[in-house]
């Protein structure tokens, strides 16, 4: 099956700093999403981005499907950005897998 690797595993930032999180995947995919799990456990969908670039406020994401990686950019980080960021992918074979494969996540701590 597809392997998903995220880096770095942990990251500590000062408030206001920028960061880049990376997601590498081992095979071509039809579906790639980024999620944020906040310190209270809530999982929020940030981006659905199988290819190209999207921006939402201070967050943006780019997926280069041909090179099998995606990047999540966080600019001017805030303490509310703390939590775990997951990348998840899916490849639709002929019969479809019907499920996302999650990476192990990047734990981000933003200090005031």
């Amino acid at each position: 099956g597809i392997q998903v690797e995220q880096s770095p595993p942990d990251l500590i930032l000062q408030e206001g700093a920028n960061s880049t999180l990376r997601c590498n995947f081992s095979d071509s995919v039809n579906n790639l999403q980024w999620f944020h799990q906040n310190p209270w456990g809530q999982l929020i969908n940030l981006f659905y981005i199988p290819s190209g670039t999207k921006q939402n406020g201070r967050l943006s994401a780019t997926t280069v499907a041909t090179e099998r990686y995606s990047l999540l950019y966080i600019s001017s980080s805030q303490t509310t950005d703390s939590g775990v960021y997951f990348c998840a992918v899916e490849r639709w074979y002929g019969g479809a897998t019907n499920k996302l494969i999650f990476g192990t996540g990047t734990l981000l701590a933003v200090q005031p």
């Binding site: 999620f35 969908n45 998840a88 019907n98």
Partner: protein, 116 residues
């Protein structure tokens, strides 16, 4: 639009007891999923459904059963709870993408289950 809701939010069971977790979504999504999340293990798929009346096994289905009698509801049952089932359980539902596959996935708030 409530999105994905889960009940209960917390539950403590004794070994051998049974319970049902309810997931409901009001977004008319076809696909629904049950995950468990344990420290250091990430999210693991238990069961999923591709539409009303259908269910399928995920990575860790043993000890769980599911039903999808109505499109908006997906129930997860534990027939005889074991301490190894202590976990946080998340339900999710997924849109259908323009190309016909799965689109964005939305999660419920989670249920924290402790089995003593």
């Amino acid at each position: 639009n409530a999105g994905v809701t889960q009940t209960p939010k917390f539950r403590v069971l004794k070994t051998g007891q049974s319970m049902t977790l309810l997931c409901a979504q009001d977004m008319n999504h076809e696909y629904m999923y049950w995950y468990r999340q344990d420290p250091g293990m990430g999210l693991r798929l238990i069961h999923y459904s591709v539409g009303e009346g259908t269910t399928a096994k995920g990575e860790v289905p043993d000890g769980y059963n599911v039903s999808r009698l109505k499109k908006q509801n997906f129930l997860l049952g534990l027939e005889s709870a074991a301490p190894s089932q202590t976990s946080v359980y998340f339900c999710a539902s997924t849109t259908t993408s323009p190309s016909g596959g799965r689109g964005e996935q939305y999660f419920g708030p989670g249920t924290r289950l402790t089995v003593t």
